[in-house]
Amino acid sequence: MKDLKTPGRPWTSSPSARALGALVAVLLLGALFNAEGAFFKWGTHRDMLRAVSVFGILACGMTGVIISGGIDLSVGSILALASVTFSLLTIHWHWAAPWAVLACLGVGMACGLCSGALVAKAKMQPFIATLAMMVFARGLAKWVTGGEKISQAVKQSDGTFAYVDLPPLFKWIDSRILYDNISVVTLVFLTCLLLCWVLLNKLRAGRYIYAVGGNEEAARLSGVPVGLIRIVTYGVSGLCCAVAGMCQACQEYQGDPEAGAGYELSAIAMVVIGGTSLNGGKGSIWLTLIGVLTIGYLDKILSINAVGEDKRLMLTGIIVVAAVLLQKSRR
């Protein structure tokens, strides 16, 4: 076994190096079209990070689901549900923040576990199970709020509105720390990222997630509790949605039952652009981070240059393709 050394593959062929290449290409684009230097200000990057955090949190949970071979279309709706629940509990019902946070996490996780159970126990295709959850959770969010936004303006019995104070947590989450250099939501995102990294790379459950995504039958025969692992991945995704929903509520100062529409595609895109395969079994949370940054910067660059809607969409399509092709060509 003398030949069991680590292989001398060129580092450029590793997935992360390739994904990084795409990110660097987008950054170069930013440096080129810097909107009169705006791209070189830290504030621009800080704002980009803030804007992308909610998506990033969703993408963290999505990464586990996708590695396990599933997909979660319900993230946007669960986000909305969590955001209205949180606003309702804290603004209208005046719950203390810790309890409200716990309740929200519970709601998000319950939804995730529910999708997970449909996939794992009832053997539904993940696409259908989470699509159903997507529709259901959106309906629930609308039903809970009666179709209105949960904001500081609280309707009184006589039909007028009274303005109540926002709980301090809202302000805090929406603020920036470290001498205004980083948004709190970005830190929340980084924390989620770290936790998911621990789950996927350091814990036994993480190894099982990769195994289930790689070959479900072989994993089952090796004693991996496949059903449980699937349920866990969706549960974690639900948790991430709840966190993202609360962040969204804090940043919008309200709970909007229409929030997060279409976020599922963005979150999946971020995971997949990093290089994680939708076939499952491969990928990593770092690739997701790179994907999140790539999309985030792309958006930001187009935005600071005030590119018109039509051209912005066309450019997004073209640049995404170019970035992914760049990843491939180095293989």
Binding site: A38, G43, A51, K149, Q152, Q251, E252, Y253, Q254
Partner: protein, 280 residues
């Protein structure tokens, strides 16, 4: 303002989304109004219906140092702080169409959806016999305009003997409106009028009725009256009436010029709405 002398004035316009024809029209109106003033340049940004994106855009305008900001906000509460921030930095802010909270802005220009809804209701009261049966095709009910157009309408028909026999959320989309109207037609043999929260909705309902030959028995009314949409429909006799919901684009540029010239402007400008009616 210093660089204004050399390369004119820059106005940042943040539109909350460009998926609705009415908002496309608003941008077009602003562009049109600005084009007669070569000294001003308008930068348009579109927030794709995302509050947080819109917030980021206003931040970008602030750091780019524009001379004036026009914002048509998606949401009141979440955009209030960033508008206030710009205002505090001495950048005048014109808020268009939807409001922000408090008074940390220069001027609000907008029409009143409740009032327009009420006008629509009252129009039906005068044009229908008592006991008439109505269908209401609502816009997205989680959106403020949808809620206001509904509230106003209910006020308008409050005392009259009109029954809403069918209501559905068509989410502002013509295809949905047509589908919902088909259901209403299948269920009810008598429908006297359809009130849709926008003109495409009313048009979709009209097409559904026309397919079963019942369009002449029903009065269709809509809101927005865009020149290429509602006004056409009215002119062709498809809609009985359409209630203009002005974009305020022209007014915004006029006001902006006044502000930039240092003139004083009112804190609130309410736009008047016109009714377009079919000739009998």
């Amino acid at each position: 303002a210093k660089k204004a002398e050399q390369d004119g004035l820059t106005i940042g316009m943040s539109q909350c989304n460009l998926g609705e024809p009415w908002r496309v029209q608003m941008n077009a109106d602003i562009q049109q109004a600005a084009s007669t003033h070569p000294e001003i340049k308008v930068i348009f940004k579109d927030a794709q219906n995302d509050t947080l994106k819109q917030r980021a855009q206003v931040e970008e305008f602030i750091s780019a140092g524009v001379d004036l900001i026009i914002i048509s906000p998606k949401e009141a509460a979440p955009l209030t702080p960033v508008v206030a921030q710009a205002y505090a930095k001495g950048i005048p802010v014109i808020v268009l169409d939807r409001r922000v909270l408090g008074d940390q802005y220069t001027c609000f220009i907008g029409a009143d959806n409740v009032k327009i809804g009420r006008a629509a209701g009252q129009w039906l009261v005068t044009h229908l016999d008592p006991g008439a049966k109505l269908v209401e095709l609502k816009g997205l009910m989680t959106s403020t305009p949808g809620q206001d157009r509904h509230t106003g309408f209910m006020e308008g028909i409050k005392d009259a003997n009109l029954n809403i026999i069918f209501e559905a959320d068509m989410k502002w989309l013509e295809a949905n409106a047509r589908k919902e109207m088909e259901s209403a037609l299948a269920r009810f043999d008598r429908i006297d009028a359809v009130y849709a929260h926008n003109d495409p909705g009313a048009h979709g309902a009209y097409l559904a009725a026309k397919a079963v030959g019942r369009e002449s028995a029903i009065k269709f009314i809509g809101i927005d009256a865009l020149p290429q949409e509602g006004q056409v429909y009215v002119e062709q006799g498809i809609l009985a009436a359409s209630f203009e919901y002005p974009t305020g684009g022209q007014e915004a540029i006029d006001t902006a010029l006044k502000i930039l010239k240092g003139e004083s402007v009112p804190k609130e400008i309410t736009l008047s709405s016109r009714i377009y009616e079919a000739k009998p």
